[in-house]
Symmetry: C2
Subunit: 253 residues, 2 copies
């Protein structure tokens, strides 16, 4: 039986989604909790839809796992509504929570079946940082014009070579991606950037936000985006926005 998990986490508590040596990842935290629930010596392998970086939050991460054992499958098949509760009870205080567990078909793959990934980035635009939103937003002191950010963002829609918008460590062979939707809006002191694509390059969302912010504060004009897409030159783009303002909000299948 294949099980799909909906997962939320506070990114500041983890060195990102993916399992690594000598640090606490979301993946390993949940795998260990599941291992405790199943009372199994074998650690289950969890496949995540988005390999979020250190510090990046998720409210809608998706992962799947395979219950190979027949007895386990029998035990949990009609109990899936309680599986996430059991997993959470084994990772209290971890900063991660499974919100729901559902059975999916055997050809479902959290990463490869994903049709669209939705991210949100939150900027706090005021001259003092916030103790309440600490670790949840990027504080920009200079006044941001969200309309010019949104205008500029529209040049990103569609299929482009996003080489200027990826980390120098990005290992993807093809820098072409398709941005299906991007919008920038303001709610009081908060500037929200929403961006959706089937897949993103490494750090693409954070570099996009860092670049749009340059336009928002008036340091660059909106045509800067067009220039970057044409030049495909990472050294010309804006800074990488900090991880803690970024949220993986939803995966479509």
């Amino acid at each position: 039986m294949r099980v799909k998990l909906l997962i939320e986490y506070d990114g500041t508590k983890f060195c990102g989604w993916q399992k690594q040596r000598d640090c606490i990842s979301v993946q390993e935290t949940i795998e260990r909790a599941i291992c405790n629930v199943f009372g199994d010596a074998l650690m289950p392998e969890l496949y995540g839809a988005g390999r979020t970086d250190t510090g990046v939050h998720a409210t809608g991460q998706i992962a799947h796992l395979e219950l190979a054992d027949e007895k386990l499958t029998e035990k949990w098949k009609n109990n899936l509504l309680r599986l996430h509760i059991a997993i959470n009870a084994n990772m209290l205080q971890s900063g991660a929570r499974v919100l729901e567990a559902t059975e999916v078909s055997d050809d479902f793959h959290a990463r490869f079946s994903a049709k669209m990934r939705h991210y949100k980035y939150v900027i706090l635009n005021r001259n003092v940082n916030s103790p309440i939103y600490e670790g949840r937003v990027w504080n920009i002191r200079r006044k941001i014009d969200e309309n010019s950010m949104n205008f500029a963002a529209q040049f990103l829609r569609g299929t482009h070579n996003f080489n200027a918008f990826r980390s120098s460590q990005c290992s993807a062979l093809n820098p072409v991606r398709t941005i299906s939707n991007v919008e920038v809006s303001r709610k009081g002191d908060l500037i929200i950037v929403k961006i959706s694509a089937k897949s993103f390059l490494h750090n693409q969302v954070r570099i996009t936000v860092g670049t749009l912010k340059e336009i928002g504060i008036g340091a660059k004009n909106p045509e800067y985006i067009k220039y970057l897409l044409e030049s495909a030159d990472r050294t010309q783009a804006g800074p990488t926005a900090p991880a803690f303002g970024l949220y993986l909000t939803k995966i479509d299948y």
Copy 2:
């Protein structure tokens, strides 16, 4: 010169607004920071508009202080735009921030001049708690009907004896207060209760929310509110909602 401060704080870091022995209050934290800024041996006295309890947050607390010293007044009179920055620099990592400092007339009093106090309470209504909103919301697992909460809340509007809605430790001689506005709305999994009055009894907002929640989950019907107002019996009201879901958002003068 009298100075008005607009203040935000993470309530979970403090034993409330008011100075007390052996614990860290918002008032004392800011007074000490101001003392450092002024380089003065005398600790200034800060008068707050709302004496929030341990754990209660503020995004719009107001306090005032008096600059009695002529030299100090001269130094800061034209520099008020930088005073809050100087104060904040002396309480980094404290969980409190001064958002702005403005000069007010000598008859302004943060507490006694207040015409209206606005509070917000945030409930997360889903079956799993949230690592991202940890310490910021009250998690209620049972499905809440926000419309019946809002309907019931309207009975609270106006001037009533709120004895049933105050802490047994409340020292106010008169339990009569006037609720100017109260509304309950939903945004996704979040239920927001907004409530405004010139002044509140001790724990009034939290007992109100705890009582409305009983109606929201269907344990009581909306007429319960009418009954409580008539009986004026605290032992009949709902539980006191936890402090960390409550925000002092605004004071009108």
